[in-house]
């Protein structure tokens, strides 16, 4: 296990180095530089123009600029953003990365859960209405042009039905008199979500430890009670309304992202499960007189899960660029939108910082999937 982690860490460092190098030169390859936006102003005398460029370090030779940015990245201090001057890059990212992470993680968990659930159901009962509806709608959503679909969702749920806000992170009218920042409220929401997840896992784990089937049945109700208590506490707190506003803004992007990505998991689960239902151990489970649901979930689907989890790594890539598009369409101020703006304005420090975070995030996801796989398949051990 340690050997595996060391190897993985080495790969991570190398990959990150490549990512930022490529990002740096790609941004530089665009015509002009950050200062062009000022420098194009015809009222500026040439010496002021040069002064501006010099103040950003843009007058230095390319390799020297590269080394400066590399040094900033390696020391973990990404410098000061050109575009958000004088905010340090780190400050901008710490505000935006969690917004993306939440969007992305929630949508991934939902789409994985829905996809797996539908996939196993349609593999178990072939040829039903469910199979046709799920396969056709899933495949359509999977292949549809994402921005068009996102706009359609906004049109239906925001303009026609008026149920949900059009986009952005919050509604300024609601926050006009608020004496806390959005980041503060959002941070607390994240903390709550994290603690609640830990609580749910602890309940499941503790009840399973007792080894009594009758007790394990109480896990669901117990977690539900926990959820009600949490919601109650939030609704009586002073920032409940503000949190609700942020939540409302999250719904549409998450639903959209989930809808366009669940079909991948669904079709994979279906195919994988069509293999496992033919396995002898599934027949053996049925011969033992286990209830059909147990045969399906604990044996057929459990084994079908293994290749699906492996492919999760690849669907992560898909989800990352999906979330950039979603952030743009919904004006969601996360890492994706920030990166896109930074690239357009050649805000080099911010591009590098955002790339490092996205890279770190996807590498971390890889490691988590690897560890999950070891946990799920006892035959595999990393040496």
């Amino acid at each position: 296990m340690t050997g595996y982690l060391v190897r993985r860490a080495g790969q991570m460092v190398l990959t990150l180095f490549l990512i930022i190098t490529v990002a740096f030169f790609l941004v530089q390859a665009q015509p002009g530089d950050y200062a062009s936006f000022y420098a194009l102003n015809p009222d500026l005398p040439p010496d002021v123009r040069e002064q501006i460029r010099a103040s950003f370090g843009l007058d230095k030779p390319l390799w020297e600029q590269y080394l400066i940015h590399l040094k900033n990245t390696v020391t973990g201090n990404f410098g000061v953003s050109f575009g958000h001057f004088p905010r340090p890059v780190m400050d901008v990212l710490i505000e935006r990365v969690p917004r993306t992470a939440v969007l992305f993680l929630t949508a991934t968990v939902f789409s994985f859960y829905i996809g797996f659930f539908l996939g196993k159901a349609i593999a178990w009962r072939r040829g039903g209405v469910l199979e046709y509806t799920a396969t056709i709608s899933g495949a359509t959503l999977f292949t549809v042009f994402t921005p068009a679909f996102a706009l359609m969702m906004i049109w239906i749920f925001s303009f026609r039905l008026g149920w949900l806000p059009v986009g952005k992170f919050l509604d300024p009218l609601v926050w006009r008199h608020a004496d806390v920042t959005a980041n503060h409220v959002f941070g607390q929401m994240l903390l709550t979500a994290f603690l609640f997840t830990v609580f749910a896992f602890l309940v499941l784990w503790a009840l399973r430890k007792t080894g009594r089937v009758a007790l394990a049945r109480w896990a669901g109700p117990l977690i539900a009670v926990g959820a009600v208590v949490v919601l109650l506490l939030w609704s009586i707190s002073s920032v409940g309304g503000l949190a609700l506003d942020i939540l409302k803004h999250m719904v549409l992007p998450i639903v959209t992202l989930t809808l366009i990505s669940f079909a991948g998991t669904m079709l994979l689960t279906r195919n994988s499960m069509l293999e496992t239902v033919r396995e002898d151990y599934v027949m053996a489970a049925r011969a033992k007189g286990l209830p059909e649901k147990q045969v399906r979930d604990r044996h057929a689907a459990r084994n079908a899960l293994l290749p699906v989890v492996t492919s999760l790594v690849y669907s992560l890539i898909f989800a990352i660029d999906g979330s950039v598009i979603i952030e743009v369409v919904f004006s969601w101020p996360g890492t994706g939108l920030t990166l896109l703006q930074a690239v357009r304005t050649e805000d080099l420090p911010l591009v590098m910082g955002a790339m490092v975070f996205i890279g770190l995030f996807s590498l971390l996801a890889h490691v988590i999937v690897d560890i999950l796989y070891v946990y799920l398949d006892p035959r595999i051990r990393y040496q």
């Binding site: 151990y281 007189g289 147990q294 006892p378």
Partner: protein
């Protein structure tokens, strides 16, 4: 040997099963009938594809989607299990009939600990009240089949072939079933391990007084552990009788040919006959006696009409020209090419 007078636990009456395929209906089981008393061991033999596993699957009522039960009854204590509801059949499985699978290698789910998979069966039938009692039971079963109870918490991939086979036997014993079907329980193992496990299984069977159906294509293996033998060919039971009678003097030429094509483990090696050719296509089996294309005794009548049942003592066979008791060696020798 056991008391032949005891009431039958299992009675199979005129069982017929077919598989619907693109090419037509595969008549995998046709008019199969037999009885099994408590404590008795029956062997089903026949070449690959002659319907042994299909019979076993009917007894468990564990059939693939394209299988169609045409006729017949499977009675356990007089109750026809083919007419039970899905819920009832679930209770019946493993408590009444359990199975040692043909491919023991794959009958264990790779992602769960071996002991857990036995516990699961015990829990499903409420045989023990708590998990710890169930685990104690598994430990007893493991000792019975010659496995260290500490192996309960290991995964199947950590087991050798022989250990998995023993684990699968322990799993079959989990709910004290009345009948156990052992479908080619040891074919994947080497001869020595195979022989030892079969002997142990026989010991357990006598100790627990269970009825067992052994299925194999190797008649010599069957002969050592059974008191009854049923020979299957092309989906039909073609000969049936007490093992020693069938062995001493088979009635059906197919039985004689089977005996000839396998060296006996115990006795000296005698090659009596070669069985040439392949079993027939079960979508469109030959008319008359299905064995006639390969039978050295076949005559015109065999090619046209279904053979009658001939009885001799405990033994019967469906054949127009049953073998004489004394005629066995010569007539089979004549078959050598």
């Amino acid at each position: 040997m056991t008391n032949p007078q005891s009431a039958p636990v299992l009675k199979v009456v005129d069982l017929s099963l077919r598989y619907l395929t693109r090419g037509g209906a595969v008549k995998a089981v046709q008019d199969v009938s037999f009885e099994l008393a408590e404590g008795q061991a029956l062997g089903l033999v026949g070449e690959s594809g002659c319907g042994k596993t299909s019979v076993a699957n009917c007894l468990m009522r564990l059939l693939p989607d394209n299988a169609q039960l045409v006729a017949g009854q499977v009675l356990i204590d007089g109750q026809d299990i083919l007419s039970l509801t899905e819920d009832k059949i679930r209770e019946y499985r493993w408590q009444q009939i359990a199975m040692v699978f043909q491919a023991a290698m794959n009958a264990l789910d790779p992602v769960y600990k071996v002991g857990q998979q036995v516990v699961e069966a015990i829990e499903a039938h409420g045989v023990e009240a708590t998990v710890s009692l169930a685990r104690e039971r598994v430990a007893r079963l493991f000792r019975m089949v010659g496995l260290d109870p500490a192996l309960m918490d290991r995964y199947p991939h950590e087991f050798s072939g022989g250990m998995r086979q023993r684990a699968v036997i322990a799993m079959a014993l989990a709910c004290d079933p009345r009948v156990i079907i052992a479908d080619e329980p040891t074919t994947a193992l080497d001869v020595i391990v195979q022989d030892r496990i079969l002997r142990e299984l026989k010991g357990i069977q006598q100790q627990l007084h269970m009825a067992v159906i052994y299925i194999s294509h190797d008649i010599a293996v069957i002969a050592e552990v059974t008191d009854r033998i049923g020979v299957m060919y092309a989906g039909r039971l073609v000969e049936y009788g007490a093992t020693e009678d069938v062995f001493r003097a088979p009635l059906h030429p197919y039985t004689a040919a089977l005996m000839g094509s396998f060296p006996s483990i115990a006795g000296e090696k005698r090659v009596l006959a070669n069985l040439s050719g392949e079993p027939p296509n079960l979508i469109d089996p030959p008319p008359g006696c299905p064995f006639h294309p390969r039978c050295i005794h076949a005559t015109e009548v065999c090619r046209q009409e279904i053979p009658p049942r001939v009885q001799r003592g405990s033994q019967w066979a469906d054949c127009w020209h049953p073998l004489e008791e004394s005629a066995v060696p010569e007539s089979v020798e004549a078959g050598e090419v």
